[in-house]
């Protein structure tokens, strides 16, 4: 059955964004993504109201989104407004205007905003535990996550548009964090745990770090930063002009405050590492609607099955291939799932001319829209695919610095088994039926 697209319209303090996903599934794939930096939260620091200019910008964008949804045939759209609308003195008129456009806007409470952000991170990092921080224009949410899901979180008025870039602003951030974090016990539960960074301003900061350190992959999702690096990162972010043209001007403008808030958060929570999550509130809203069975699925495997399934020549190719080679390798669970994902993608390049198949496989592994895999995992998958398509080396030597050599060798070995299984299949007309029977017998 064809999937029906679903959309989330997120009326944030910084941006108003429309994301259309291909369907309600474990690994939601964005098919359309547009934002307008309306800055609804910018006026709150002054008179507590959204400015007429920012409202007008937001409403124009929402009119366009409404039309786009109609033209795209999207029947299901969640329209949520967060801190700026929640806290503005003139919110009622704005909400009425949004509803007049024909978008059923729901103002998310601070608690729910924190919970959905936590769910979004859990959907992208299955089994994650630690603290999630979602920095928006109007607020900073802090949520503890663990096996039992997100716990009740905090919403603090520390969004990048609310905090002043000054010593007084920094003192305010420090005082509020110290008081609230201690009151809720996050200082103890967050110590030595990963801290997940959510929100465009922190993603922009990660991007700055990636450029500054010449990181070889462009995806910010799952990018790791050492806590001791944050002070240096703040110094870099103080001169955002260096990064003009590489990031949007609005994100560059908020980078110094985003870095200052991050440094203060790190000071209070003392996390083990910082991990960037591109998944947050919007993905949390979708994840909340999935049933328990769908939530348990591995998003990497599901996404690889979708991507591989769209490109391969034979039905069930990837799963069969994996079942065929699995008994030959005793990998731990982390490598096992990368092996399965690589097998699911093993036939993605058959339409390309032979000299370019390895490139296509590597590109897919390194730059695919994967969620639950870090940079090292992408490189391992890339090694498996490049070897699968007959080339031994990766295109950029810096990639090999991200992974232990023995793991790359392991991926190369998976590939040689995959290639021999595929060659057998191509040579013998009924080989896949044979593989199916053998796999079934082994199970």
């Amino acid at each position: 059955m064809a999937r029906k697209p679903v959309a989330v319209v997120d009326i944030g303090s910084n941006s108003v964004r429309l994301v259309v996903y291909s369907g309600r599934q474990r690994a939601p794939s964005p098919i359309f993504n547009e934002k307008v930096m309306a800055g609804l939260g910018a006026g709150l620091r002054g008179n507590g109201q959204m400015s007429p200019e920012s409202e007008q910008k937001a409403l124009s964008a929402l009119c366009r989104y409404k039309l786009l949804l109609r033209h795209m045939g999207v029947r299901e759209a969640k329209v949520v407004a967060t801190a700026a609308v929640r806290d503005a003195a003139n919110a009622d008129d704005f909400i009425a205007s949004v509803k007049a456009i024909g978008l059923p806007c729901e103002v998310v409470s601070a608690e729910d905003e924190a919970r959905f952000s936590g769910l979004g991170v859990l959907s992208a990092f299955p089994g994650a535990s630690g603290i999630v921080g979602d920095l928006g224009g109007g607020s900073l949410e802090l949520i503890e996550i663990g096996n039992d899901g997100p716990r009740p979180g905090l919403s603090l008025p520390l969004g990048v548009l609310r905090v002043e870039r000054s010593k007084a602003g920094e003192k305010l951030v420090r005082d509020i964090l110290k008081k609230e974090v201690k009151k809720t016990g996050l200082d103890k539960s967050g110590r030595g745990q990963p801290f997940y960074m959510v929100g465009g301003s922190w993603r922009a900061l990660a991007k700055i770090d990636m450029i500054a350190t010449d990181f070889p992959l462009p995806a910010t999702h799952h990018y790791r930063i050492k806590p001791e690096r944050v002070a240096e990162l703040r110094k870099i972010a103080e001169n955002p002009a260096t990064f003009e043209g590489l990031l949007s001007s609005a994100r560059l403008a908020s980078a110094p405050v985003a870095a200052m808030v991050l440094e203060r958060v790190v000071d209070e929570l003392q996390p083990s590492e910082l991990i960037v999550s591109a998944f947050g509130l919007r993905e949390g809203l979708l994840y909340a609607d999935l049933d328990a069975r769908a939530r348990k699925l591995d998003p990497l495997i599901e996404a690889a099955r979708d991507a591989g399934g769209a490109e391969h020549r034979f039905g069930q190719h990837g799963d069969l291939l994996h079942d065929w080679i699995a008994p030959l390798f005793e990998d731990g669970p982390k490598m096992e799932r990368l092996r399965r994902a690589s097998c699911l993608l093993a036939d993605v390049a058959w339409q390309a001319a032979p000299p370019f198949r390895a490139d296509r496989g590597v590109e897919m592994a390194l730059h695919g829209d994967w969620t639950a895999v870090d940079a090292a995992g992408r490189v391992i998958m890339a090694q498996a695919l490049t070897s699968n398509f007959g080339r031994d080396t990766l295109p950029d030597w810096r990639l090999t610095q991200l992974v232990k050599p023995e793991l790359l060798l392991r991926a190369h070995c998976w590939a040689s088994r995959c290639a021999s299984a595929s060659d057998s299949a191509a040579a013998l007309p009924r080989c896949w039926n044979g593989l199916t029977s053998i796999s079934a017998a082994r199970r």
């Binding site: 307008v36 124009s60 964008a61 009119c63 366009r64 039309l67 786009l68 033209h71």
Partner: protein, 51 residues
Amino acid sequence: MLERTHLNLSRTSVTLCVPHRNEALAGDAVRRRLQRLAEAFGRKAEVATFV
């Protein structure tokens, strides 16, 4: 997706034509892109509607 929306190129302008009551489709970002396109052709950018 937007079958009826189209571009017209005349000697003086590049015109984005959107259906009547769909004017909001030409948001800020679209207008900026249209402006860049028109500049590339050495013409002025316009948005027009049709019924």
